[in-house]
Structure formats: structure tokens, C-alpha cells
Amino acid sequence: MPRNRQQLSWPAVNFQAEPRLLVGRRAAGTRLEGYRFELHEDVFPALVEICRPLLTFLNSKPSRGYEPFTTVERDEEYLALAIDGLPKHPGRQNARLEADEPPTIEEDVADLVSIVRGVDGRDALDRQGIETERFTFSAICWPHGDSFVGFVTKANPVITVTTGTRYFRYEETLRRVERPNVVLSNRVDLFVGAETLAILNPSAFRMLLADVAIAMTRVPRDVAAVRRQLRSKRLPLSLQAAAALQEAAAFRLSFARRLNELPARIQELDITAERVRKRMTAHDLDPSMLLDQNEVFSFGAEDVEHFLDLMEGRFSSRTTSLAPTAERNASPPGGNSRSPVP
């Protein structure tokens, strides 16, 4: 069973209040922009039906603390993260002064939280906008104190016509129906609570909070851990190389993900300067691109990928692998079918 599982108690949401339906998409760069749909009161019960089961789920299933790149067992658990623990948004105040930024409750929270809490400040889309625009996510927002909580789904709620959705089974016949303007899924990916986020779909979470680089928050700690592990192997990482790792991982999600797994990997490695040089030479790579004469890992941002490949064993063969000793000994004699890559 995963560690740190705990049962959280979520504050009740007043489903008698009037919900707001929000849609949003990526704007410039990683920023999000959101719009409201004006709703008639006869759709309120349908929105309750989507949201109430999720709250029941959150109150009945265990949560784990959020870790980057972790996965969740859908329908069995979820991740929890305090909203105060999110990275602060750096530039909204300036952007508001320069452009016509919509009003917000708070200046420095992630866009998604800001949009949910400030849903009443968003422009409403007219019919043409609903029919023609494409969106990245939708959120059903409910008043909670002076603010809002939101049930967020990372999907375009405005569907395009497909054969499968143009016909409904009705009294054992197929009947054509007009294309609806909005179709909402009952799958919720995130719950933006008053103080805590519930994450049911980590990849949706990473995408929707890209403006505060949520996936990169562990990068400095991971780089420090890599330095510690390499120092213990007597192959230290130079400050320049550490900075290169940090810079590269801050801009590429795949690097951040690989870096996150690297400390545990290095701990297991049987790594020496001689093995590193042999492995790189065997792959027609100049060892000095990563390892200097003093047996210190020293490289720039352009060689980060080589470093990660090396540490992950992608340059390895059975005889000179950097993979753990036990792993190499377990390989079948003469066989190369077992890859040391985790």
C-alpha cells in the first residue's frame, strides 16, 4: 500500500446554490483564460448530478500527498495538495496593468484557481462563441463562502459532430437529434476546494497548472539529491552541471520526470569514472563532454540528455553496464535481452 495515505474530510458544498459553468483554454504560453456560460435554472440539477458523486468519492476514499509524476489508481484514491502550497504566480499584476486582464480575487495564485475563484468576473460567451470556440477544460463552480470551489474536467465540453453522437437510441429505434451545443462529461479530473486541491488525473493537473510550472517544483530538490548521490559515489557534479540540469528540467517536462527518478537510480548504480569513460567511448561519444579530468561531472545544458541517458543505463551493455551489480549478475549468460534501463 502506498505511503502517506489518509482520509480527508472535505467541507460540504451547498448544491442548493446557483452553479456557474466555466470553460477555458490555453492563452499565450502557459496561461489559461476562462469564460462563463450563461445557464438557465433548469440545467442546475444536471450539474448537481455531476458534482455530488465526486464529493462523496473524496470523502470516502483515501488521499495521498501530491508528488510530481506520481500516478493515481482512478476510482480508488486521489492526490491532495494544499492550494497555499502551489507555486505563486509571478506576473499577473503587471499583466493586468498592461492588458485588459479580467478581475481576480487574488493576484498570485495559479490561473486555474484564480479563474475558478473569480468566475463571476469572467465574460459570458454568446451563442456564436459557444458553437465556434474550442476549449481545453470546463469547470462547474459552486459558491463557497465569499469564493467558489470548482469541479474541473480537462476536456472540450463543446463537441463537434460525430456519427456516434448524432443518434440516440430511443424506444428501440435510432433517432436523429440536433447536435447539442454543450455536452458535459460526468468525469471530474480536479476539484479546486476552498483550501485544498483534489487531483484525480495528474496529467490534467500538470497541464492545467502549467502557468505556475507545477511539474517543475521538485527540480531543485531533485538536482540537490543527484549531487548528493554522485558525491557519495566519488564522482561529484559540478555547480555548472547542476545549473545545466536545473535549467533543462525547468523547461522540459520529460527531463523533470527523468530527473525525479534519478537519485534512487544512482543510489543503486555501480558507477566509476572508468566505467563511464568505457561506456561513452563504446558509443562513439567523447567522455570529456560529461566527465572532466578531475573525474567531476561537468557539462552544459546541451549535454543534459546524454547525462540522463548515461545514468539511466541507456548506454549500457552487460559487461560494462552502470546498472546495479545485482542486476548485471542476474542477466542470463551471453544474453543481452535484459535491459538495464529501468
Partner: protein
């Protein structure tokens, strides 16, 4: 051919324009009544019927615009610096409606001139805030005020809905500053749905 289709907001403003002329339609209908009020088919009775129908339509449409807002999602806003716009409505009565009563159209040229005037007034109306300077709303026991609107009770600068005051159709202007107010958008302005009790 130029695109003359109105945007949804402009359509609502056009409807509010007709609603704002409810007193005029009613007054012209009454003025068109023949001296002895005896029914017989004539141009005067036709005018009575047409203007009475316009009056009824505009009043009912005004009620529908306001009450229909009560069936859609509200927004919760906080208001400050509330300023009554009643003077504008009274001025509107005096300048836009009463002059029509002074002259009785005598021929087709007069009717066409009035038609041109109404079209120009409509064009101005749908592209300005005049839509809510509307005496008919006062007959419905509503008032029009301007106020600054905010998303949160702190009323901080970044919470302000727009840099300019917004127009609000309200039952009790004093209620706007008592706490959170549930409002619905109408033609670029707001109609209150839930007003905090005193």
C-alpha cells in the same frame, strides 16, 4: 450588402428601447381616441389599436426581460459608490417622449419623419448606456443606479469588474452596499436577482 444583424446584447438593447417608449405608445393611443369614443372603422381607431398594442407589447416585454433574468445564473458582486440615475430617466421623459405629444402627425410625411427619428434614436440606443435610462423600469418599481462593482468583499483594485461604474437595475439602491448582491447581466448592465435584506 452590409451586415445589419444585431448582436445578442444589441437585440436586448433594441427591446429595451421599445420598452422605454411604453409611456409614449400609451399616451399616443389615448390622444388618438376620437372625440366621442364611438367605434367605427377609421384611421384614428386604427392608430389607437396599433399604439395600444405597442404599449401592451412593450410593457409585457419589459416585464419579461426583468423577470426572465431571474431564471438564469446569477453573479455575486459587491458594490460601492452607488449613484442614482433617476434624474436621467426624468430628463429622458421630458426630452424624448413629451415632444411627440405636441404635434399630431397630419400626413404621410409627418409619419415618415417620426419613423426616421425613431430609427436614429434606436441606433443611438443600442450602442450606448441609454438603454437603462428607462422610465418604464421605474413603473415596474425598479430604479437604475450606477455603481462600482467588485468580485470580493475587500473591494481591492484587482477585484473591480471594470474601471468605469456599471449600471444596475435595482429595487432598493441602499441594498447594494449591504453585502453580496446576486445580479444577472442585461444589455451590458445588471439586474439584481437577490438583494441583501436591510
Amino acid at each position: 450588402m452590409p451586415d445589419v444583424a444585431l448582436l445578442p446584447e444589441e437585440r436586448k438593447r433594441a427591446r429595451l428601447f421599445l420598452v422605454s417608449y411604453f409611456p409614449l405608445w400609451a399616451m399616443v393611443a389615448l390622444r388618438s381616441l376620437p372625440p366621442h369614443h364611438v367605434w367605427h372603422w377609421s384611421a384614428r381607431w386604427l392608430a389607437v389599436l396599433v399604439f395600444a398594442a405597442l404599449a401592451a407589447w412593450s410593457f409585457i416585454d419589459g416585464c419579461r426581460l426583468i423577470s426572465g433574468a431571474g431564471h438564469t445564473t446569477e453573479r455575486t458582486l459587491y458594490f460601492s459608490e452607488v449613484s442614482n440615475q433617476g434624474g436621467n430617466a426624468a430628463g429622458y421623459l421630458a426630452t424624448y417622449l413629451l415632444p411627440f405629444l405636441g404635434i399630431v402627425p397630419a400626413d404621410i410625411g409627418d409619419w415618415l419623419a417620426y419613423g426616421v427619428y425613431l430609427l436614429v434614436a434606436l441606433a443611438v440606443f443600442v450602442r450606448s448606456d441609454l438603454a437603462l435610462v428607462n422610465p418604464t423600469l421605474y413603473l415596474m418599481r425598479r430604479r437604475v443606479v450606477s455603481a462600482r462593482a467588485y468580485l470580493g468583499p475587500e473591494m481591492a483594485e484587482q477585484q473591480q469588474l471594470s474601471s468605469l461604474p456599471v449600471l444596475v437595475v435595482v429595487r432598493d439602491p441602499a441594498a447594494l452596499t449591504r453585502g453580496p448582491v446576486g445580479v444577472v447581466a442585461l444589455a451590458g448592465s445588471f439586474v439584481t436577482k437577490h438583494e441583501p435584506a436591510g
